[in-house]
């Protein structure tokens, strides 16, 4: 019974509104990732949920319980901190046992739970050591273990992978996903890294400036971003964005970017007609820009001239930093292309995958029939 619910929660620090009227439902057993840039409010949300901060307005429910005024220790949640926050003067065993010993759990039970968690995490050999004798990865597991033994209603994670090196991070991501499946408890996970979000989450909630931008499954956020911010945030490398004017009419509509123009595919004409003569933001992901010789079949090609600024060979593909007039954009092209900096080439935009956004509200312009 560990559904978590935020109802119109607002949190202010002085003049700054860190969380603005947040309403979010997190069903039991979900792995929800809160993602967004620094200062977007995601950590604050976690702290409100754990009880380390108090809400100014709104209500928070854990299960069916209103927990606004319930102190952290009675909320039945466990938290893994970014810096692990292990008790430096206690052994690993005692670190993990601390929460249970506070609740007067019988020693045998504590022993059982700690050893079981240690086994799952592979830290049985470390039980007698002190935190300062452990590596970063080991400390992180102890922090995890400390949370696991509590058998809480929900686990809260505050950027737990940020302090690990790249390789360990990738490894731990997989382990966390497995852990979630194994424990079957609600995970609420905060990170600024959208790759972590995309790979681990059952649902992602994107935050910016204290406001919830969009919540949904990873694929949904990737393919159908609700607004400019989500479009630019999810997906790496980020979506290319151009300021263009919609011109033309029913029969032929195109987007005028001054230094180039692309024709709008018929499926998208209807939604853009209201903007005829006006400016919109046109978006296209780098993976949908190709060189003509290697463009995949089924591409609806809109050619654009560009000059190659920088090339980065990624092994299986090239990142091309391209320049058209004053516009910079990025394309991911086949590795067989032989691009050279300074070269003038023609690329094709796969216009079937174009996105359009209202320049004022930032909201996605979508066709009414999905």
């Amino acid at each position: 019974m560990a559904e978590v619910r935020f109802e119109q929660v607002t949190k202010r620090f002085g003049d700054v509104t860190a969380v603005n009227n947040l309403s979010l439902e997190i069903p039991d057993k979900e792995f929800l990732v809160l993602v967004g840039p620094s200062g977007c409010g995601k950590s604050t949300i976690l702290r409100l949920l754990s009880g380390l901060e108090e809400v100014n307005e709104g209500n928070i429910y854990i299960g069916d319980r209103l927990v606004n005024n319930v102190p952290p220790k009675d909320r039945d949640i466990a938290m893994v901190f970014q810096s692990y926050a292990l008790y430096p003067h206690m052994s690993v065993y005692n670190n993990m046992a601390f929460g249970l010993s506070l609740r007067k759990t019988p020693k045998a039970e504590i022993e059982r739970r700690v050893r079981e968690a240690a086994r799952v995490l592979g830290i049985e050999d470390l039980l007698k050591r002190k935190p300062r004798q452990l590596s970063g990865g080991q400390r992180q597991r102890v922090a995890l273990g400390r949370a696991i033994v509590r058998e809480p209603a929900a686990f809260l994670f505050d950027e737990p992978l940020s302090n690990l090196d790249a390789k360990l991070r990738v490894q731990t991501r997989a382990e966390l996903s497995k852990l979630h499946q194994r424990l079957g408890t609600t995970f609420i996970y905060v990170t600024h890294d959208q790759i972590e979000a995309m790979t681990m989450a059952s649902r992602i909630a994107v935050m910016n400036d204290g406001v919830l931008q969009q919540v949904g499954q990873p694929q949904e956020l990737y393919e159908r971003p609700d607004n400019l911010f989500v479009a630019g945030f999810i997906g790496s490398p980020a979506m290319n964005l151009f300021e263009v004017t919609v011109r033309g009419d029913q029969n032929q509509t195109y987007l005028d970017a001054d230094s180039f123009r692309v024709a709008v595919p018929s499926t998208k004409v209807a939604m853009l007609l209201p903007y005829s003569g006006k400016k919109i933001i046109f978006g296209l992901r780098p993976e949908h820009i190709h060189v003509p010789e290697f463009m995949p079949p089924g591409t609806i090609a809109a050619p654009v001239q560009a000059r190659v600024d920088v090339t980065e060979l990624m092994g299986h593909e090239y990142y091309l930093y391209l320049l058209n007039g004053e516009k910079h954009f990025l394309a991911r092209v086949d590795a067989r292309t032989m691009p050279r900096p300074g070269q003038d080439i023609e690329v094709v935009f796969n216009i079937a995958h174009m996105y359009a956004f209202d320049p004022v509200t930032g909201k996605a312009i979508t066709t009414t029939d999905g």
Partner: protein, 296 residues
């Protein structure tokens, strides 16, 4: 609609919770303010007494001075400042304290620099040894030092006491400065050496300017220590003409006689300088204690 109804209630909720938080913290504030006042009271009492004349001081407590008729007077300060002994004492204190601060800092800085950035056999052991000397009680050294100074025929002179304070102050000063120097970025010094600078150059042009906070807090410590010192002055400077304020005041205390009321103003004046320094440079003072006493 419901959301809007909820809003005014939320702000009232906020008000109530803030009020109850304040009230529950009231005992904390009361206790803390009370303690702070308690701590200041003795000094405040002294200040008040120094503005009262001898008869008043001898007959009633200082707190009564705040009732009408107000009986404040500047006589005590006048007497103290014009009395030869006090003026000279103040000067003596300065004569003792200023070199007694500058010289130790310089000498310690040289040594600290060597300990921090030079390599030589036994460096770490020597350093620990120097720091261990911190615990040696001054008393242990007085007899031989006095004898030595007498034999060298400089006992009772100002240079003698400067040297003494330097010697006594070195363990702490070397400890403090070496820790600070050691924390300076190595790349900075290395690039200076690569540019061809000598150790002396690096010391005066790089290390000293960068260490101003540490030097400042050390200066404060050392100055206060020397200014407030009684024992070393008593033992080494035996000439009453050279006595610093601490000694003169002590004599006043034991004399009792007609000088009783002067004691208050004399003591207060001798307190003023350290207090002013303390308040002006509070930050450095506290920082100095922290660097010196609490590691990492």
């Amino acid at each position: 609609m419901i959301a809007e109804l909820a809003k005014p209630q939320a702000s009232f909720q906020g008000f109530v919770s803030r009020l109850s938080k304040f009230v529950s913290r009231l005992p904390l504030h009361v206790v803390l303010v009370g303690i702070a006042l308690l701590w200041i009271t003795p000094a405040f009492g002294l200040l008040t007494s120094s503005f009262r004349d001898a008869a008043a001081v001898a007959s009633s407590g200082w707190w009564t001075a705040f009732q009408l008729p107000f009986e404040f007077t500047l006589d005590n300060y006048q007497a103290v400042l014009t009395q030869n002994r006090m003026g000279v004492s103040f000067l003596n204190s300065l004569i003792i304290s200023i070199p007694g601060t500058v010289i130790p800092i310089l000498v310690a800085a040289f040594a600290a620099f060597a300990f921090a950035w030079m390599r030589f056999p036994g460096r770490d052991t020597l350093f620990i040894f120097v720091v261990a000397l911190l615990v040696v009680p001054v008393q242990m050294t007085l007899i031989p030092v006095l004898r030595l100074l007498t034999n060298l025929q400089i006992a009772g002179s100002f240079p003698a006491i400067w040297l003494a304070h330097t010697g006594y102050g070195l363990p702490f000063a070397v400890f403090l400065l070496r820790n600070f120097f050691g924390a300076l970025p190595r790349e900075l010094l290395e690039s200076a050496y690569l540019d061809g600078a000598s150790s002396v150059r690096v010391f005066f042009r790089l290390i000293l300017p960068l260490s101003v906070p540490a030097l400042a807090s050390l200066a404060i410590f050392q100055f206060l220590w020397v200014w407030n010192d009684l024992l070393v002055a008593l033992v080494i400077l035996q000439d009453p003409g050279k006595a610093p304020m601490t000694v003169t005041i002590t004599n006043l205390v034991s004399s009792f006689g007609a000088q009783w009321q002067l004691l208050t103003s004399a003591a207060f004046i001798s307190m003023m300088l350290p207090l002013v320094i303390f308040f002006a440079l509070q930050r450095y003072f506290v920082q100095g204690i922290l660097t010196g006493a609490v590691k990492g």
